[in-house]
Structure formats: C-alpha cells, structure tokens
C-alpha cells in the first residue's frame, strides 16, 4: 500500500482516529506522518494544547506499527510517566521524557511552534561547543553578507574569526 499523502513511498504507519463516533483511517509513510502531522483532518483549529495532544498524538495503531513503539508501551524510564499519561496531562514528568518520547514530539512542536529545533540562548556551562557552533553560523551569515556587499576587508576578518573558532572546536 502506498502512502496516501505522497503516493510515492510505501505506507508504513496505519492509524485510525475516532472523532465523535466517526472512524477515519490513515495510511502514511513515516516521513509524511512526521512532516504533515498537522494536516491530519480534525486536528486543526483550537489553541488548546489538550486538543492538539489528543488530536496529534492519541491515535491508536490498527495494524502493529513496526517502526514506532505503540503508545501504551512508551514510557520514560527516569520518572515513569507513560506516553498516554503525557498525552492526557499535556505535561512532561521530567527532562528525560523529552528523550523517551522524542520520536513522537516533532509533529507536536511543529504544530505548536511551527518549529522543532531550538535556536536561542545556550547555557554557558553545558554549551561551550554548541555556543561556538552558533557563533560560527552567525559569522558565516555575516561573511556572505560582506561578500555580497563587496566589503572584502571585513570579509577577510570574519573569515579569520571563523577559522579560529573552527580550530578551537577541532582541538
């Protein structure tokens, strides 16, 4: 069976969702299930996190999903919160829940924030290397800008800074 979203990849995830007694079935490839999670009918509209959670995450598996663990078995091994508890409460139990539920979080974050990856502040203590990598990304953006504006002296300086930081990381 092909994925009903893209029609190209084989459908590996099969869901049924019951909304007010109406049962709908979904056959999606993993990529589409993740990326277009928010397009599944019945999940749009309403700002409540609880709507989102039950809409996006509370679907049951009809055929055994081979790749993803079924929600009943999914559990944070540090605090003991199960995935179905999480989807009812809309709250994580501890910071490790993020790791154990990771595979299922992208569609949720995509829907709530439109993004899945943090780009902001990084704690100094844990983030030495992350911080430097962000700095390098930022310098590279500015380097491209300088080149496009033909400010080559500034560009040369930026290039040196980038090299220095990259050297620090590789050490």
């Amino acid at each position: 069976m092909l994925c009903q979203e893209c029609g190209k990849r084989p459908a590996s995830l099969h869901f049924s969702k019951i909304v007010n007694g109406d049962k709908s079935e979904y056959h999606l490839c993993e990529t589409c299930a993740r990326e277009k999670g928010e397009l599944i009918p019945g999940t749009s509209g309403g700002f409540s996190i609880h709507n989102l959670l039950s809409g996006l995450l509370n679907f049951e598996t009809v055929e055994q999903g081979k790749r993803a663990a079924s929600p009943e078995n999914l559990r944070c091994e540090v605090c003991g919160m199960t995935y179905s508890q999480f989807s009812k409460l809309g709250r994580f139990g501890c910071s490790s829940c993020y790791k154990y539920f990771n595979d299922r979080l992208d569609p949720l974050f995509k829907r709530v924030h439109g993004n899945t990856v943090h780009t902001g502040k990084v704690p100094v203590r844990v983030g030495g290397e992350i911080r430097t990598k962000r700095q390098i990304e930022d310098l590279k953006r500015r380097l491209q800008e300088s080149i496009s504006q033909e400010e080559f002296e500034a560009a040369a300086q930026l290039r040196d800074q980038i090299r220095e930081l990259e050297r620090q990381i590789s050490e």
Binding site: I49, L89, G93, G114, H118, P123, V124
Partner: protein, 355 residues
C-alpha cells in the same frame, strides 16, 4: 520575612514611575521558565525533591551579583494566609497557579517588586520582570542577566536540539514568555479591535484578558504575548512582539485622534458621564468599575479630564480587586456591601486626585 510589606501598598514601586508610551502601554513583562536537571518537574516530584529544589535555588540569592537588584526577599507560600496570597496575585507578583496549586512553592521578590522569582510553580524556576510602560527590552535584559546568575550555580535541564526543557510543551526552547499589557479603548470604541486582534493571533502571538487564560478583557485592557518559544531566538521573539505592539500603538493613536476630530462631543459625554458615576455612585460592581475607569483614563489621555494622575488610576485598578478591597474593609461584610465599599473607595481616591 513576611509578605506584608508587599501587600501593604497597592502600588508597586514600578507603578509609581511611568515608562515609554505609558498612555497606551500599562506594563511590560518577561518571564523565563527553567528546570533543574536532577529533579523531576514539580508535577511528579516528591516533596523531598521540591524541598531540595527550593534550597538549591534559595542559595543562589547569596550571589553578590544580585545586589544590584536590591534586597531580594524569599517567601514560602506555606507561610502566607489566603488573603495575602490573593493580594500577591492581584499585584501580578505570583501566578494563581503558584498560589493555589504549588507544593513547596516559594517566591523571591525584589524590594521594588520589579523582579519576582517563582519556585516550584509548573516549572522549578520562573524568573519574572515587570516594568511600567513599554520597556520590553529592559525587562528582557534584566531577566536574562538574573538567569545567567542562576545558571552559574545550578544545572538547568537543557537539550541541544530542544533548548531549555519545560514541563509544558508550549514553553520549550527559550522558555520565554514576553507580554505587554495595553489599554485600547479607542480601538474598542471604533470597533476595529477584533480585526486587529485576529490579525495578531495569526502571526504567532496571543491576546488575553488581564488575568490570563479564560478571563475576558476587563476595562479595555489586553495582554499581548508571544506564543512561539521554539525555533525563534530571544531577540527575534522580543523584536516581533515589539514591532507588533508599536503598530497597535499607532492604530490606537489614530483611532483616538479620529474620535476627537469626528465625535469629540460624544466622547466627551461618555468620559464625563463615567467620571461623574465614579465620583458619586453609592454602589458599583467590578465590571462597571473597570469600564468606567477605562473611560476616565481615556479622558485623561485625551486632555478632557484634568487633575487626576494615571498613577491614581493604576492604584485603583489594584485596590478595587476583591482581595485588596476586603483587606481595606473594617468590619463584617454583608452581601452587596463589596459594591458599596468599592464605590466609596473610588470616590475618596478620585476626590484626592482632584485639586
């Protein structure tokens, strides 16, 4: 340390000064949510864990770099009676959630009340900075500086990909919620408000009444805040909100000018009627009081009423809420007496405000 010093005076220090655009922007607030790596989030944490969280965070108050913010007073929620809790909520120094549902909750409040640090609310740590007027950047700079100091002492739950890990998925990433409280009577009067608010909510911002989710906007006060915390950095979040607030200020100003030029008499009539009712009413409920106070504030801003300061109105906004009303009332309170007392208090204050 008791909370009495913070509930004795209805006006926080910050409310006595005025910030930029203070005719339209009442206050700017920034809140940062953080959790300690080693403990479960408050929802699941044992009392023992929560005690340890409180102790670890309280110790940070000894850092000399915090001295620039004045003395910071740690208060345990369990040491407060219900009334004092309610009054701290009415002053926005703690959240209703911390007052009602926290276990081992505490709040650290700075002398001038512009900094309040909540412990064991939904997250282990919530750093809040509250400034008068339109001072989002200032509030952010202070909050992040305080965050840096805490970061030096404790291990925050942080993930390279997801950022700061929070109890609720809606706060993950930056953990940053920035909000601006705006008084928008002219946009309400000219019926443009819904169009503007729906546009705002389509670009990743939310609009709420002054007491957070579920409450309607009383007295034409609207709180506008960012909804997205993941995938935008802090500067982007603050800049987005800033530029939207600036646009709304522009719309409100235009609407006020239009009111003055096209229906000066009708606006004057409305404003003076409200002023009259507040000055002479024998009973008034909280909803009407909020609406009339909004009219009077507009009257002052438009130069139609003289002799009353905006600070006097800020004070009334806090004083006319149930906790503060009750606290100021001597003797037993019969049904309906709250409205009588509210009316008397407003009459007195406005009398004082008049030359």
């Amino acid at each position: 340390m008791s909370a009495i010093r913070f509930t004795e005076q209805p006006l926080s220090h910050w409310m006595k000064t005025t910030g930029a655009e203070s005719e339209i922007v009442i206050s700017s607030r920034v809140r940062i949510a953080r959790n300690l790596q080693e403990h479960p989030f408050p929802l699941l944490a044992t009392n023992r864990h929560l005690e340890e969280v409180q102790d670890e965070l309280k110790e940070v108050l000894g850092d000399p770099r915090l001295e620039v913010y004045g003395e910071i007073h740690p208060i345990e929620l369990s040491a407060l009676d219900e009334l004092n809790k309610k009054m701290l909520v009415e002053k926005h120094l703690i959240s209703p959630n911390l007052a009602n549902e926290s276990r081992n909750g505490a709040v650290f409040i700075s002398d001038d009340e512009s900094l309040s640090i909540m412990v064991n609310e939904e997250d282990h740590l919530r750093i809040q900075c509250l400034y008068p007027g339109f001072q989002l950047k200032e509030a952010w700079e202070k909050a992040t500086a305080v965050d840096d100091i805490f970061e030096d002492h404790v291990n925050f739950a942080f993930d390279d990909r997801r950022g700061y890990l929070t109890s609720c998925p809606t706060n993950v990433g930056t953990g940053l919620r920035a909000s601006v409280m705006m008084h928008l009577p002219a946009l309400v009067l000219t019926q443009q408000i819904n169009r503007i608010l729906s546009a705002v909510s389509q670009i990743g911002l939310t609009v709420r009444g002054i007491y957070g989710e579920g409450s309607e906007a009383m007295g034409n006060l609207f709180q506008i805040s960012n909804q997205i915390t993941l995938g935008q950095n802090e500067a982007e979040i603050i800049d987005n909100l800033r530029s939207v607030v600036l646009q709304i200020i522009g719309h409100e100003k235009t609407a006020r000018e239009r009111l003055l030029s096209e229906s000066r008499l009708r606006v004057t009539d409305r404003v003076m009627r409200s002023f009259g009712i507040l000055s002479y009413a024998a009973m008034i409920d909280s909803k009407e009081a909020a609406q009339r106070l909004s009219d009077v504030r507009l009257g002052i801003d438009l130069g139609l009423i003289e002799g009353i300061t905006p600070q006097c109105l800020n004070e009334l906004m806090v004083l006319t809420q149930p906790g503060f009303l009750y606290n100021n009332y001597e003797g037993s309170m019969e049904p309906g007496e709250m409205d009588t007392f509210r009316a008397r208090l407003i009459r007195e204050k406005l009398g004082k405000g008049l030359k």
